[in-house]
């Protein structure tokens, strides 16, 4: 199918893009999720604002032990980044398992996050890294914990006029982490994914177990007593996973528990 008719505007700068968003436009970055959703008519936006030429939103940098990844940075850029490979290789692994080479050449970090699909690869890792979403508009800017960006199935917390500019997180000496997913086919959309990152505190993010990616706060708290209590805390969570032909809710929760245990063992032992 072809997308329903829509208006298109190429943003010349952030203010331009923000003003279009304030009028209800949806930002178009790599379009690897958005265009597919528009072709299947799951989404029928009236106006797209193409932010693809906003070069300032692209790139990976580090300043006083805080890494900043611009929203337009592509998955292939994450995989090839020497900085990320050294500091947070599990983020590179999660990126390398997105789609295929062609998709990774266009798909962006900001798109992956803002599309807010519960099974997206990057959100659990960014949650576990205690990442911050840097959000801007023509009038103001704000920063929120990345998990607060996820409001429901493919719903993000950006309000009219706002655009995700970057994600930022601190890196700590000797930091370890793990990304685990179960996918019905190589590089497919995972049924469930889990990421654990150590640091000043241990972060645990999961996807596929609810309508949006989650931080497992109770699991994180229980970790002071060890992996066993953390898994018990997991069992006590009231997940509401998607159910489809590939897997039911019970199965996804079971898989989530196994992936969590493996990730915790990898990071803590």
């Amino acid at each position: 199918m072809r997308p329903a008719p829509f208006g298109y505007q190429l943003a010349s700068d952030l203010i331009d893009a923000s003003q279009a968003c304030a009028r209800g436009a949806i930002p178009l970055a790599g379009g690897q999720s958005l265009i597919a959703a528009m072709k299947s008519r799951q989404m029928t936006p009236e106006l797209l604002v193409d932010i693809g030429e906003l070069r300032d939103l692209r790139g990976i940098s580090i300043e006083s032990k805080r890494i900043r990844i611009g929203a337009l940075t592509r998955h292939c850029d994450l995989i090839e980044s020497e900085l990320l490979k050294e500091k947070v290789p599990w983020l590179c692994e999660a990126a390398s398992l997105i789609g295929d080479a062609q998709i990774r050449n266009r798909g962006s970090v900001g798109g992956n996050v803002c599309f807010a699909d519960p099974r997206a690869n990057l959100p659990p890792v960014l949650i576990s890294l205690n990442a911050t979403a840097v959000i801007g508009s023509s009038e103001s800017s704000r920063e929120v914990p990345i998990e607060n960006l996820f409001q429901g199935f493919r719903e993000n917390a950006l309000v009219a006029g706002e655009i995700l500019l970057a994600v930022e997180f601190d890196v700590v000496e000797g930091q370890k982490g793990s990304y685990r997913e179960l996918s019905p086919q190589l590089n497919g959309v995972p049924l469930v994914n889990v990421s654990v990152s150590s640091g000043n505190t241990i972060g645990v993010g999961v996807g596929g177990l609810n309508s949006c990616p989650l931080r497992l706060i109770r699991v994180e708290e229980a970790l002071v007593d060890g992996i066993g209590p953390a898994l018990e805390a997991f069992d006590g969570e009231a997940f509401e996973p998607l159910e489809d032909l590939q897997a039911g809710a019970k199965y996804r929760i079971k898989v989530g528990r196994v992936l969590l245990r493996r990730a915790l063992e990898e990071v803590l032992n």
């Binding site: 997308p3 298109y8 190429l10 379009g31 072709k39 080479a101």
Partner: protein
Amino acid sequence: MQFRLNGGDRKCKVSPRTLLVDVLRDECGTTSVHIGCDEGICGACTIFLDGESVKSCLVLAVQAEGKDVETLEGTGSGKELDVVQQAFGEEFALQCGFCTPGMVVSARALLKNNPNPTDQEIRAAMVGNLCRCTGYQNILKAVKKSAEKLQSG
């Protein structure tokens, strides 16, 4: 919109919802770009956009404004096969041939960045291209043969 296609300048009138794959096939006649699944899965529409492999069914035509597009038609003399295409023929890496243009683009994209890939690297790089005929074994062989030939010059 204006863009470069296989080294030449192109001008087309498109609506925002026109996909790049449709412009390439219907307006420009570069019909090596195939529409298979039309959902961004099968890779039959794979092209080079500014030197990187992308699926043209997941790109709006307007997103290619000012960019450099290369399809299978743009390589070699137009009459003779290049190394990768030849290897696909020699190794029987195609049967119906529908997936082949996308396969060749993905193989070239891989070999550009990684001239001597392992079997595992070839499989990983070709995940985004589906073939319903060959079972992939001969495609793997063809990519390996291409790598060897390109390296030996």
